[in-house]
Subunit: 193 residues, 2 copies
DNA sequence: CTGATTATTTAACAAATGTAAAAGGAATTG
DNA sequence: CAATTCCTTTTACATTTGTTAAATAATCAG
């Protein structure tokens, strides 16, 4: 049963970029599952990120503290990549943590052997290049929304783009994700909806 | 003279990730120069981005209009990559433009033949994977600063990180880059400096 | 089920940032 | 170098968002 989950995951990946059966097997052999209970950390602040995760089932977030306040930087749902890129790609410790929002199962791929696979399997490197490109585009779009859209516009566009987030995720996390306080988000919700 | 500039550029690239002499030559043959006068666009709004640029000499920015107001999303200086990634990686038209801030020379690499080079030259694909990873990390860091840092904090950290920007770039561009108005930036400058 | 905890909303006020308009400086052009 | 245009600052006021605290509402554990 766990193996079929892995196979589904590999299928999902190969839709992003075609990979050979051997490459599929090589990735398959690196994948393992990690279960994390609600509100527990998968990765803690201060660790250097050396693992790539995808959400298999559940939801997770990346967060950090700014002036003792919890700030959510990113949400991940089924099949979503969740990495602390600024640590993984630089080798520096991360000031961010990864936390399960519900009881969540992650697929875990250790970075070092994965990067070694890149040497033998050009198609795997290409796949992960495209995975990173997607995340990059998502981040650019979020940057644009934070740069010059009002809190209300940002909230409305989140509802449109990911209704599930607004329905299922605690508002305190959503507020900081939008770059505002809970109180401010409550006000916005009171005016429209 | 132009050829030595190209060679310098290729050297710069190969410091990011080692590439073979053949790969260097293949990239070399794809590179060309484009000169753009101050305040002129290198790429216009509405175009789909099909070219990768690096700044050879001068400076440039990516901008778009939000409610008829000019918003600078990104600055690029010597050796910096400048692409409208959300268009290049998705094939959709971009609502952003690339503009020379001074008279500027760009190195231009057409995306299609470059992506074709990826097939024969694994090391070139790796190089550009790393280039994109760097941009991704930069964008994540900017996202963090916009998400929960005050305008004043953002301005101060820009001074620290890129004093040249604050010294050389018109303030009207810097203000929107920081996600604030010119008036607000003037106020911040009046209080500290 | 009940008390305790946690999440969300509301209220009142403070601070930050936006808007519009005018004034002063700097740069550019004829 | 004079005139024009563009850039930056300042002012006054409006709006948005933040802060603190209290009141509800929802969830969780025993």
């Amino acid at each position: 049963m766990k193996d079929t989950s892995k196979e589904h995951f590999i299928e999902y990946l190969s839709q992003i970029s075609q990979i050979s059966p051997e490459s599929k097997e090589a990735i398959f052999n690196l994948c393992s599952f990690v279960s994390i209970n609600k509100n527990k950390n998968l990765q803690s602040i201060g660790q250097t990120c050396k693992t790539i995760y995808f959400v298999q089932d559940g939801a997770a977030r990346i967060y950090y503290y700014k002036d003792d306040k919890d700030v959510t930087e990113y949400f991940a749902f089924e099949n979503d990549l969740i990495i602390r890129a600024e640590s993984l790609f630089t080798g520096k410790p991360s000031h961010k943590a990864i936390q399960a929002i519900y009881d969540t199962i992650f697929i875990s791929i250790p970075a070092k052997p994965l990067f070694e696979l890149f040497d033998q399997h050009h198609d795997i490197e290409r796949l992960f290049r495209k995975v990173v490109e997607r995340s990059y585009v998502d981040t650019i779009n979020r940057l644009e929304s934070l740069q010059f859209y009002s809190a209300e516009e940002r909230y409305k566009s989140l509802i449109e783009k990911s209704p599930t987030v607004v329905r299922d995720i605690p508002l305190k996390y959503i507020a900081s994700y939008l770059g505002i306080t809970q109180v401010s988000l409550s006000r916005i919700r009171a005016n429209f909806s």
